[in-house]
């Protein structure tokens, strides 16, 4: 509104009319704005109408859009999980059926014919279980992990069922900070994870200049935070920026670029496991910058000045790019190789030359024996996975030390007896367990009570023999008995004493000798327990009328059933969680929408009141203008 001057001495015609015009224009403009609000129904049409509220509206709209994305994800995940649930339901029924058939056919009053027809039923169930494993939902194999474009369970060439999917279960985001898996792993459901030979040794690779910082565990196993460090040597100091450093080589280069100032040089320590810093003269300290943990993670934090520093082990992880020769602090791995047997397939895997871990694993995987060699999740060692349910995997030496060094030999002298024979261990009896007959006809007995490891067994045999007769195989796996005496090989045997099963459990009984050597069996295979193995065992036991086999298989199937039920429970809980979240998001959307509406929409009451006020104001000014503008002295002069 125009402000009329307070010292108004005279009022010119133009003054009068301009005041009237400007106030009319203003009123009309405000009327137009209110009209706009009424017709569009929105108080704020563009952010400048009210920048503060406009910014909030933008945020709210963004939030609604983001939540729509979450709702879509939840709906998709619910569908996938419900198809998982349906297939688990079917599998549960199938397993129950199998246990019922097993318990019905276990008695001694059951005929062989009955068992044969039962075996046919189980065979059917076996094939059905494979179909369950290959369930598809909208083109995805739900048990395939992140390889779900192909069937995860295929029939292996050497019998059994081979798992060719992965166990990487996909996750997705279902709300702010809510990331959940929406698949179930085939391993979990079908019990195929039991077939993994977990490497028992940490491979502790040495670092090279090419080792990436991302591949380091860091001195405190918390990874490496890439920040800056400060090296102080007496009066001189330098801040080294490592935030864009990618490898150990980069760290060394950058520290050495400041040698002119700090007189400190960096290099890889002689043991290959850490960094070493040396000062040309004086004593230096290495400190953090800005509360970061870079120096500590690299193992070189040193608050008190020293002349030289051998840093802490940076715990390099094993990656596909790690060189085999850098394992064990640079000591490398014996190149003699492995002897792998899986069911009826065998292969020998050796390596020559400077190869990476990946190349070595590729050789194992290319050997086509139904195994998958991989680096374990923590990046500390290797694992060999038996992919085939129904075959037994055995990994032994090929004349050297490779398998033992890598910790993947399936049977070794240090192994506990309780682990042998798929956990059934070795059954001893009081008194002598085995009787060994030499080629020259002499015999001796060995009492194996008190032996805890295979090494103990070998020691006991050798003590009883009075010579080194027993040893452990250098190729493959097994206890080897060597007879130095003279005589026919047919005389050399190991037999049970006192009806003990120990010899059989150790794989020694009743084996023929060749050139004075009896090579024991590998009684410590890695095989998959699980649905397919147990169903196959049940079927085969029914076919051969093996009551003990039927009972063992039935026990295995009960364990499978429990596991499947528990997975189903977890899946159910997950679906419930998602549904709960979906409801909550929908409610939050309502609240957000109403807030949005209260900010953005026209308050019709206020607007209409404003409209009528302005209307009256406009009418008033029109009328007064008309009256006042028409008065003039000229009218009254004659």
């Amino acid at each position: 509104m125009a402000i009329l001057p307070t010292n108004l001495a005279r009022v010119s015609n133009l003054l009068r009319t301009s005041v009237a015009t400007s106030s009319m224009t203003k009123t009309q403009r405000m009327l137009l704005e209110v009209q706009n609000q009424l017709t569009t129904g929105q108080r704020i049409n563009k952010p400048s109408d009210d920048p503060g509220d406009g910014a909030i509206i933008q945020q709210l709209q963004k939030t609604l859009e983001k939540r729509q994305g979450y709702l879509d994800n939840i709906s998709s995940a619910k569908n996938t999980l419900s198809s998982v649930d349906t297939s688990l339901e079917g599998l549960t029924d199938l397993l129950r059926q199998a246990t019922q058939i097993a318990s019905a056919n276990v008695g001694s009053d059951v005929t062989a014919d009955a068992r044969t027809s039962a075996a046919a039923l189980i065979d059917n169930l076996y094939n059905q279980s494979i179909s369950f494993g290959n369930t598809q939902f909208q083109g995805t194999y739900i048990y395939g992990g992140d390889r779900s474009d192909k069937q995860p369970f295929v029939t292996a060439s050497n019998g059994g069922v081979k798992f060719v999917g992965t166990n990487n279960v996909l996750q997705n985001t279902f709300d702010d900070n809510m990331v959940r898996p929406f698949m179930v792993s085939g391993d979990e459901v079908f019990g195929t994870a039991t077939g993994t030979k977990v490497g028992s040794n940490n491979l502790s690779p040495a670092i090279t200049t090419a080792t990436r910082l991302d591949a380091l565990g860091g001195a405190t196993a918390a990874g490496v935070y890439k920040g800056q460090i400060k090296i102080t040597n007496g009066a001189a100091n330098a801040t080294i920026d490592l935030s864009s450093a990618d490898s150990i080589g980069d760290v060394i280069t950058r520290i050495n670029a400041a040698t002119g100032t700090t007189d400190v040089t960096a290099a890889i320590a002689p043991d290959g496991m850490s960094l070493a810093l040396t000062a040309g003269s004086g004593a230096f300290s290495v400190t953090e910058v800005g509360g970061a943990s870079t120096a500590r993670d690299l193992g070189i934090r040193q608050n008190n000045p020293v002349a030289s520093l051998d840093g802490a082990d940076v715990k390099a992880k094993v990656t596909p790019l790690t060189l085999m020769s850098s394992i064990f602090g640079g000591g490398g791995v014996d190149a003699s190789g492995l002897a792998i047997t899986n069911g009826s397939s065998t292969a020998t895997v050796t390596y020559t030359g400077p190869i990476t871990v990946e190349a070595f694993l590729n050789q194992i995987n290319a050997a086509d024996v139904g195994v998958h060699a991989q680096i374990n999740a923590a990046g500390t060692g290797l694992e060999i996975v038996n992919l085939v349910a129904g075959t037994e995997l055995r990994i032994g030496e090929n004349g050297g030390n490779t398998a033992t060094q890598l910790g993947i030999r399936t049977m070794s002298p240090t192994q506990q007896l309780s682990e042998l024979n798929n956990g059934k261990g070795v059954r001893t009896v009081p008194g002598a367990d085995i009787t060994v007959t030499r080629r020259d006809g002499t015999e001796f007995s060995v009492d194996l009570d008190g032996a805890a490891t295979i090494g103990d067994v070998i020691t006991k045999i050798n003590t009883a023999a009075g010579s080194t007769m027993a040893s452990f195989a250098t190729t493959g796996n097994g206890i080897v008995m060597t007879d130095a005496s003279v005589g026919p090989d047919t005389s050399f045997k190991v037999a049970a004493a006192n009806f003990s099963s120990a010899g059989e459990d150790l794989g020694l009984n009743g084996l023929p000798a060749t050139a004075g050597v009896i090579t024991g069996k590998d009684v410590s295979p890695v095989s998959i327990a699980g649905v397919f193995t147990n169903l196959a065992k049940l079927r085969d036991a029914l076919r051969t009328n093996d009551q003990r086999g039927i009972t063992e298989a039935s026990q295995g199937i009960s364990e499978d059933l429990e596991r499947v039920i528990s997975v189903r429970g977890v899946t159910g809980a997950r679906v419930q969680e998602l549904e709960g979240r979906e409801d909550r998001i929908t409610d939050e959307n309502l609240a957000t929408q109403s807030l949005l509406s209260s900010l953005q929409d026209t308050d019709y009451t206020t607007a209409i009141t404003q409209f009528s006020t302005l209307q009256s104001s406009l009418q008033a000014s029109l009328r007064t203008t008309n009256t006042v503008a028409n008065l003039s002295l000229m009218d009254f002069l004659s």
């Binding site: 402000i3 563009k46 400048s48 933008q58 994800n73 992140d146 997705n172 990618d246 002295l633 002069l637």
Partner: protein
């Protein structure tokens, strides 16, 4: 004293009344003229004559001059407020045009397109191998790219509109300055030597000056000879009768044409701070700032998405790929400014995986990128091609400045992962978006032709979704390149900036209008014509004229009588 004295008194009275009537008439005639300054006649008593020893007698009235009722200081303030309000109006008008280009708070704005794009990646993560979902991602990506291009081109259009308007206004200002010079000369000639004022010409000059103030903020200093010197800032525009002239100069700033208003004689900048020209300059700078921010945002979207995508894998491997960004000189380090890459790689490394199709076995090789500027061994494009060719199963070369990578035989395919240097994204290898900014942003044609190459996976498995999830999270990831804000926040602050500027210009305009009207009303109070006042003056002069005529008539009669005495 004689009768003739009385007659001459009557004569002066008549003349003065007539003159005053003329003045009144002039005022009445110009009552509706907003530029007119009311004139009042200055009359004073004529010099006394000595009648006798101690008696002085008056000789009538004389017209000393005609005064314009004007307050020059007030006029100056009024002109300044005119400049302010015109400048603010211009700003408001054009900023609301900028806002309507952005069209936020609607359904089709850029922020919705961004949300839709990132949401579609999140959806893809539910089922990475689904062909339909992949198509949706590609389409949404293209829509987003088109959105950026569209905004950029609309801003370009606005900018050229501003430049056109500036040209027109500068021409107007120039011709007004010419008129001022001309009026100055006329006033000097008309008033030359005398102490009176050529009121009409001065009114015209004031009007012209006011029109010029609408365009440019000027201030003026009157010279003793009556001409008015006009200054823009501290530089003179009109000196006496000469107009220095106003024209445009086109500066090339960072590849952009900036039109600047300059004096025609020395091409020095005429710094207009308000007025329509000043307002347009402010608007142009605001448009430039917004366009730059938009471009930066587009660049960051392109590079960050590409960095994640180029380290990802599709459902199958690659058999051939050609980077989309070319280097000007392949023998120079990749991040050398001469190579002209729109995005600069840093030191780091990436892994190349070569997969035998028959067995599925993968061999990985680390490729190191050194860009630390130390030891003179920074990786060049040629180095990179050589390093890649050294990998069994892969052959690489530089073709037309672009990196071309082929599988060495039909039996293998390759893929990349874990690029910590950003090189693959910088060269446009296995990337999602092409282009270096808001004006040429597109989704890579290769992906549109073969959606299976869309990289949703991170670990090499065909149906992994970690890259898809990472890209979906990009919208809310804090990025160092944006100074610690996220893409979402960055765009929101761009829009908010425009909104706040537009709102501020709106309230500025309102405030300056109030000031202008107040000053105008003050001026009117002093210089405006009041018809009633003039009517009274008219009556007064009428009576004065009548009185004078009566005097002359009476004196005439008396003179006749005296003449009658002489026969």
């Amino acid at each position: 004293m004689s009768l003739t004295g009385a007659l001459s008194i009557g004569k002066t009275a008549l003349a003065v009344s007539q003159a005053q009537l003329q003045v009144v008439g002039n005022n009445i005639a110009n009552a509706g003229n907003a530029d007119y300054t009311r004139q009042t006649p200055k009359v004073s008593t004529s010099k006394d004559q000595q009648f006798s020893q101690n008696v002085f007698i008056g000789t009538g009235v004389q017209l000393d001059g005609i005064q314009r009722q004007i307050d020059e200081a007030l006029q100056g303030r009024l002109r300044a407020s005119v400049s302010d309000s015109n400048g603010a109006d211009t700003e408001q008008l054009w900023m609301s045009r900028v806002e309507s280009v952005l069209n936020e708070l609607g359904d089709q704005d850029l922020s919705t397109q961004m949300s839709t794009f990132f949401n579609s990646w999140s959806n893809l993560a539910s089922k990475p191998q689904d062909g339909a979902l992949r198509q949706v991602v590609l389409q949404n990506g293209q829509t987003l790219a088109d959105g950026f291009k569209d905004l950029k081109s609309k801003f370009e259009d606005l900018r050229s509109d501003v430049a056109d308007r500036l040209r027109a206004l500068t021409d107007d200002a120039d011709s007004l300055a010419d008129q001022l010079g001309e009026l100055n000369r006329q006033i000097v000639t008309a008033e030359g030597g005398s102490s009176g004022q050529a009121a009409g010409l001065r009114d015209q000059r004031d009007a012209t000056l006011k029109k010029l103030s609408e365009l440019v903020d000027v201030h003026s200093i009157e010279q003793p000879n009556g001409s008015l010197n006009v200054y823009i800032g501290s530089e003179p525009l009109v000196l006496h009768g000469t107009n220095r002239g106003l024209t445009l100069r086109e500066d090339n700033v960072n590849g952009k044409i900036n039109t600047v208003v300059v004096f025609a004689d020395n091409k020095g900048e005429a710094k207009a701070t308000t007025g329509q020209i000043g307002g347009l300059t402010v608007v142009r700078d605001a448009i430039d700032a917004t366009t730059n921010r938009l471009n930066d945002l587009a660049k960051n979207v392109i590079f960050e998405v590409n960095k994640l995508h180029s380290s990802g894998q599709g459902t199958g491997g690659l058999t051939t790929t050609l980077g989309t960004n070319a280097v000007d000189d392949p023998a120079l380090a990749l991040n050398d400014p001469v190579t002209n890459l729109p995005f600069k790689p840093t030191s780091g490394s990436f892994v190349v995986h070569v997969k035998e199709k028959a067995t599925g076995l993968v061999t990985s090789t680390l490729v190191k990128i050194d860009q630390d500027g130390l030891n003179g061994d920074d990786t060049t494009s040629n180095d990179l091609a050589a390093d890649l060719s050294a990998v069994t199963g892969v052959a690489a070369s530089i073709v037309g400045g672009k990196l071309k990578i082929d599988a060495a035989s039909n039996a293998v395919e390759f893929s990349f992962s874990q690029d910590t240097s950003g090189t693959l994204a910088a060269l446009g290898v296995n990337s999602f978006f092409t282009g270096d900014g808001a004006f040429d942003m597109n989704v890579d044609k290769k992906l549109q032709l073969d959606p299976s190459k869309l990289a949703a996976a991170k670990n090499g498995e065909p149906t992994d979704n970690q890259t898809a999830r990472a890209i979906a999270d990009l919208e809310t990831t804090v990025l160092g390149a944006l100074g610690g804000s996220t893409l979402k926040e960055n765009y929101e602050s761009l829009v908010n900036n425009v909104a706040v500027t537009a709102a501020a210009s709106k309230s500025n305009a309102e405030a300056s209008h109030v000031v202008q009207e107040t000053l105008f009303n003050q001026r009117e109070a002093l210089s405006g014509v009041s018809m009633d006042e003039e009517a009274i003056n008219l009556m007064r002069q009428q009576r004065a004229f009548q009185g004078a005529s009566r005097l002359i008539s009476v004196v005439n009669d008396l003179m006749d009588q005296i003449m009658g005495l002489v026969r």
